[in-house]
Symmetry: D2
């Protein structure tokens, strides 16, 4: 029998936002959530209109009020999706955790490491789910890649090459106010001190960490702003050192003319290499040392972790929304388990946690520090 649909609330994601609509589709896709409440905008009128448009029954003008009110209802929300600009992630998450409500939060976790660590502490003490939506870890073949590494199919890892290139900020589109996305993402007051670094650099970092199971021990980095007048970085390059001796490079850019959403990872070990390109997510390349590349496909790879994250048969492409939906599916499995006081099913545990978010913030702080010190190698704290 189908389980009860979980009741979901949303903070942020009003008209003109991109990621709010994505969360709504993702929450709906596997039919485990019902969106019933929202504080979609800090502007009360816009909040109401956005909620109506999204078919949300209960609209709040203020997220603090929403946390309070929903916690008080018998049919209050089980979980909240936080899709605001970055500076509000931690305050909003704190309010809902305090109210005993599970949290599904967009990345980056917070705008400083200290803020993130406090949040992690709170989440652990409250025993509520805290899921961070690092979308790309929802792809079946990303999970399979992780499995291949874990099973030793690549041997000892030696080289990590990860990159994330876009071109949508190649020009000063944030000026004038027409592009709401560009506006807040290049405003340090809303996005935090990291621009391209926080927006997509963290995705690159997380993807590499997720697949390799390793975090770099140290890095040497350089932030740069290409577009005149921009108040935040739009380009980051870094060299990485891992504890086992592996080396790596990370590049993220929002001024790479012609690039759409080119997140790519390559990992090389003593026995084999693999490659994944987010823009072709139904394919994973695996190449043994000296051998022929194998083009592994989503639904043909014999992999329970991939199968868990797949919906349609071989040759029927899944995409970004399905990867995102997978995070919601895993969140639902974990929330059910938490609500029922039992261990969550193993296959749901690849979901990104609040601790992963803290790791991401450590990465950000190390890059900021190294870049400020002209690329000096900086240890990544706590890893």
């Amino acid at each position: 029998m189908q389980r009860r649909r979980l009741r979901l609330g949303m903070v942020g994601g009003g008209q003109g936002a991109f990621i709010g609509a994505v969360h709504r589709i993702a929450a709906r896709l596997d039919d485990r959530f019902e969106l019933v409440a929202g504080a979609l905008s800090s502007d009360p009128e816009r909040a109401r209109a956005s909620a109506l448009e999204a078919g949300i029954a209960r609209s709040y003008a203020d997220w603090r009020e929403m946390a309070r009110a929903e916690a008080a209802r018998d049919d209050g929300i089980d979980a909240v999706a936080i899709v605001t600009p970055n500076h509000l992630h931690a305050p909003v998450a704190t309010a809902f955790l305090e109210a005993g409500i599970h949290v599904i939060c967009d990345k980056p976790l917070a705008v400083s490491l200290a803020e993130g660590e406090a949040l992690a502490k709170l989440a652990h003490s409250k025993k509520r789910l805290f899921a961070l939506t690092h979308t790309y870890s929802g792809y079946p073949l990303v999970r399979h890649a992780r499995e291949l590494v874990e099973r030793g199919e690549l041997g000892e890892l030696r080289v990590v090459q990860v990159e994330y290139a876009q071109d949508w900020l190649a020009e000063p589109v944030e000026t004038g106010g027409a592009n709401k996305q560009a506006g807040w993402r290049t405003d340090p007051a809303l996005a935090g001190p990291a621009g391209c670094l926080g927006d997509i650099g963290t995705h690159a970092y997380h993807l590499a960490a997720f697949v390799t199971g390793m975090m770099p021990r140290a890095l040497s980095a350089e932030l740069h702003t290409f577009v005149p007048g921009r108040r935040i970085d739009d380009h980051v390059q870094a060299m990485l050192r891992y504890a086992n001796g592996a080396r790596g490079m990370l590049w993220a850019s929002q001024v790479a003319s012609g690039a759409e959403n080119a997140l790519r990872l390559r990992v090389y070990g003593t026995k084999a290499g693999l490659a994944f390109d987010q823009e072709e997510p139904n394919v994973l390349w695996f190449t043994p040392l000296g051998g022929a590349a194998e083009r592994l496909t989503r639904a043909r790879v014999a992999s329970p972790v991939a199968a868990h994250a797949t919906r349609v048969p071989a040759g029927h492409p899944e995409g970004y929304l399905e990867a995102f939906a997978q995070l919601y599916e895993d969140a639902a499995l974990q929330i059910d388990a938490l609500n029922e006081g039992r261990a969550a099913p193993a296959e749901s545990l690849l979901l990104t946690t609040v601790d992963d978010g803290v790791d991401g913030l450590r990465f950000i702080e190390a890059v900021l520090k190294s870049s400020a010190a002209d690329g000096r190698w900086v240890d990544i704290e706590g890893t």
Copy 2:
């Protein structure tokens, strides 16, 4: 303000079925339908269990009863999704049309041209929506390809090459009963007289017709069954002649070892050629005569018809489920219009109709006839 979610029923699609689950996700994805009733299996117990699992409130053991009962309710279904084996498409659709309920039906339309023509006549007389789910016409870039042809960007069309290759029936997987899909799809009593031809050959045919805006005038074809003991074709090849002098080839096979779901179309005109591969649906290739290929991408192509069928920005891949959802989205737009007695919005009109289904049956009959006559060129009736 968001429109009322339409109430959807489903016939077929019980446990073990593939396409039923796909329809359910597709109906849900854009939030225009709510699945409230179903006759998911002819086995009453299985029907009930399947409905429970799918979270469907009203379960019926019989679709005739369902049509009657739903028509009688104030909150009865607006539309029914028919996802049974082929031989039931026409009887079920007839019952629901008679009851005044809109129909969204899997392809092929029916198991004979006569049956299909009667159904079309009924649908027209009842003024209800009849949507046939030729999934691949829901892809934004397939719609854009059609637009490019229509705008004359290819010049006069000369050559059409379409193919659909799979390998899942390369062995006699229908024996033994374990593979329910293979079972009914290779059983003429359930699938009709056309096997591979009806299952995927019609998709290839429809894709070519949809993009080129042309149906062949005549064809020379050969059906073949490779797997010993199989009661139906698993391979079809055909040559095509078009009224304007264009030539074409169509190939569909379910024994093409290594092929997953390789539906591909190439069209060549006097000015340019284009190519689309269903397994990489976020890309469309356009190459001018003597020039460089352009790699058009889903969300970068300046195209209202593509934009209408897209949800996420450039570089965020959409896939099969989104294409399928597009058919439901367009169906909702048309049903709203029909219910309100106004013209449907132009962007919804690319949805496959019952008449397209009849054309597909004409193609099937012509192939059967030509193949029986050792490949003699056969006119396609009525076009």
Copy 3:
């Protein structure tokens, strides 16, 4: 110790020709031939100028005279390369065979089956090498593909899909005289009765036959001329039946806008499929039934037949000229053996023979016959 360079003559290939220059590079590349004599044009002045430009010592105004004179010299040519328009292949080859000179001849072998059969008979009786330059069989991975089939890696063959698309004749470029290539290739008096069919259809046919080791038993075909005023076909489509029950399709077109030189072969057996694209000749795809595609590369595939035809290591691309050179290399190995009265080395025996050329003419005649009979299935004689 290096063997003596063989002395090569050339008939045809004067200024403005394409294939003559290719033969000259190919003959030189592996350093087994020295071009010392030529009758490069039927125009004496042009012949002389062309020879000078190509650095050829002995220039003849007439190929009959050349055959005679070279046969009489102690240091006369060992072999002649025939690169004239098609109608001269047989007469020229006959003259040089009669003079006891080995022949390397461009395809198609002749302009009629009868002419080709006579030539084959002569070649056999004279015990001279007769090599037909079906270039694409010189690619290492084409040879490896053949090996995979022969070793049974694909299982029993079921489906053959071969095509050759170009766009250089999409417009009437043969008019006006500026395009010498287009001129003779569309003139039945020079090219023979088959246009696109003879020019590239035969390459497609040969590639399929070479790799599969099978010739079709029967075919149903249709020739077409798209460009108004053209005197010869520029498009051919055919369905194929093989003796073992396999089915196939062949398509060749010179009006496929956007296509450069797109010769592609796919073969599917009961156990696996393979795919080769002439425009990416350093890669061969091999995909087991239900499995992951393997991207086999030229110098990594463990294959003596591929190794024999390769010069540089993995990742250093070889191309068309190297494939062509391979035919000359194999010809040299066979000529050495013939001159020394011993068996030619096994690895040289994949070189296309005069009998393969006769098979190609049988294919051409069958297509002409079937097309004239509105696509009736026609047996391919003698196979």
Copy 4:
């Protein structure tokens, strides 16, 4: 009329060598050189046997003697190809320059910057050609890429990403003596202080410099040796800063499991980006900001510089040997001009010079220096 073939000598490249055979084919391909003399090995017997095998008339046991003797002959060599291990490049080149003989030398130019600068000074004073065989700059599309940058089609350059990955040294194949290539390339006494850096890092550096027309102003780098016991680096990563504010990354590895010869360059400017992959050299990708990628192909791109470096029509792939031959072709054009006291034709001037070789050594020294200083940013001297 064809020009006189230039007489070529060779130092190095005896049996078991890779690059010697490549130079011989490359020199022969366009028929502008005749290999007549050689000192192919420092072992006299091996030198003699190698020369015989390569069909070289005059074999020397010592390159000093060869320089002397050839300079003294009326029919002495015009040019010498130096294909020894790195440590001999400068001594051999010096001897032949002193003898007035043109030099075509493998890269890197020398084993130290000082040695290279002395050589450059000598070459300039002697007014002899000094060509350095940076093969990849011989590709037509690499030259066209340079042209696109120069013409401003990319706008102001912002980002350079270049990499060169191989896997042939992923294991300690240099031990045991069986792999001659691996032996000298990992021996600092023969290869110089830079391993992977000198062997392929310099190719990556040169490709980026050639296409962008810019050399980095400073770099931060890290060398690494992965294979235990290896005496030289097998991996290098670097971050780059350019004078105009552009940023870049360079990665070269010989332990990247699965990589064959993956030299890839991407350049992004304010208006467009481009990408080239040495393993698919017949294609160049050009993508305008926000637009669709164009797949430019070798013989379809309207480009005199590409046309100059191409032999066969569109769709007939050229490869590594043709790129290499292009360097010889350009060298021949320049030698003819030097011999005749006139300016060399413009289209031949893209040939890599001794000064480019010095730039490459500056890059090597900067990497060595930065790596030794834990990645400190180091200015690249003299640029």
